[in-house]
Symmetry: D2
Subunit: 187 residues, 4 copies
């Protein structure tokens, strides 16, 4: 099984809805097992268990929420440096486009990189003028189809990379899939 | 006079259109004198002249374009550290929302901060679910009204801060203006 | 009076020692009044009171500590957007050089920019091969003289910019001071 | 063979010396084939060839040098999105500690992430109070042993991750190696 953890904090429910979509996308790959956890209900065993993670937080002041940061800051220090080589990606919802989602994605990536994850974004375009190059982002609720598709695609890609990189499943490589990656839409 | 430089590079013309809007916004403040320069036509004397700058680049790989970076890298080194205390802000256009505009804004800010500028973003919302918290951003051309308004507002704010901070014009302070800052729209 | 707030969180005491040095530097400017606050003892009235801020946090996972983030996330939302135009800078201590201090500085700046602050770094070099271009940084305790000098200089600069920009005290401008800015040391 | 590209630009020779050390580290893994290229001598075929990359630039204004950025901006656009799933890491030299190396590392990562690479940093400590959590950094020339060791380790790790992730060589996984990862030094 390819073990995927979707770990999020949400204030308004918007980031949680993104997490739902990402988890659904992650399950699209055969053999993916997905744990879908609010930080309030996750612990070190979930982090230990996973092979790939999608980490999401609301954008508050262009940065990760304190609740999500607290979760990481309180992880047992002896685990740090013992889990190198997992795969990671990020997502965030803000109140507005231009509201700092991509700065929050950077803060979330900084946590994952520090913990030893290999992180990625999507080259795909998931709709007209829409991408998740540095993680999936939303302004308010993920109601638009292109936003939802970015979330699902990010989740699927996480499963694909984790299966390819950790389990050596070469057939799971994104560049071998039949689906449209919509690249022309952004050009 | 409050001396404002709008300095940009543009590949497709989209960032140039943002620059036009920002320059127009900057001129809305009485007493503002605006130089509007493509990096191909600007030199060190423009940088020396200005008291406030709006710096814009296309988003290429989530970072400033090489043409804009070249302009800074080739500035006379003896000028560095001699111009501290000017005011700055940034803007960028990418092919898609989520395309790395905010990462590019960060790269542009890193240049300005290094050069001694004090940098700012907008707290304002410039339309439904739209802001320029870390600089003005666009996906493709700035055709939407809320994107245009973010550009104009960023330019105006640059003039306001420069007038307030450099010239001591207390009446130019943004919090004393009569216009709507649309803050409720993002909430 | 030029009102300066040094606001910090510290786990090991290292960031607190940086805060002490920054506060001492801030007091070097005549007319500066400095509040030196651990986030555990600061509230919204301190933020409202100040005209300039130095914001510091340990580097945990290359990002602001949850305690510092919590302080901001719990500020009364109605204050946001009502305090635009204050001056800000940042500082951080990590366990090692290369440990993510500058990423944490970026996260701290993202908070300040979002809140309406104008942020700056130092062009100064504060010792051989040492600067605080994006905020003051330390690896472990600030025991080295060049690290201490960077902290004091950052504090002094904060007072200088705040006095210059907010109070129109042109004689406080850094480029008019007699002290050495050590610029040649970094070249 | 595990195909590693060390791609760099250097002004003073300092980043080039880091590249030398990283290349030497990359070769420590059995089966690694390393191309060591200045951007002036590299082209799209090198990028196509590699499975892992270490990307390095001087820190100029806290950002990638224009020469390195130009190299990427001028890559054939039709190649973009066709090379997803390679492994990447970054390095930079500045004139001073605190000079923006880690901001430059972020800019370099933004390029790699955008191009479809999975990026990583080191959890290792490579000497007393020294790490390369977000890439290898130096102030001036990499003369100190701890800086050199960070470079070599980053190169080795790149080979290890590339061999593990791309070639499924489970014995190459960093956590299975006998060497000391020095983790206690940073605590």
């Amino acid at each position: 099984m390819t073990k995927i953890l979707v770990l999020y904090h949400s204030n308004s429910g918007n980031t949680e809805r993104m997490a739902d979509l990402i988890a659904a996308g992650a399950k699209e790959l055969e053999g993916a097992e997905v744990r879908h956890r609010n930080v309030a209900c996750a612990d070190a065993s979930d982090l230990d268990w996973c092979e790939g993670i999608a980490l999401g937080s609301p954008t508050n002041y262009g940065c990760v929420s304190w609740q999500m940061k607290q979760w990481w800051d309180q992880q047992p220090i002896e685990n740090w440096g013992q889990m190198d080589g997992k795969i990671g990606c990020v997502f965030s919802s803000a109140g507005a486009w231009g509201g700092g989602q991509e700065w929050t994605c950077m803060a979330l990536m900084s946590i994952l990189i520090n913990y030893g994850f290999l992180v990625f974004g999507l080259t795909d375009y998931s709709g007209v003028k829409f991408s998740a190059h540095y993680g999936a982002i939303s302004a308010g609720a993920p109601d638009e189809e292109r936003v939802q598709q970015a979330c699902r695609r990010l989740g699927l890609r996480l499963s694909e990379w984790t299966a390819t990189m950790i389990h050596g499943r070469k057939e799971a490589h994104p560049l071998k899939q039949a689906y449209e990656r919509f690249e022309d839409l952004g050009k």
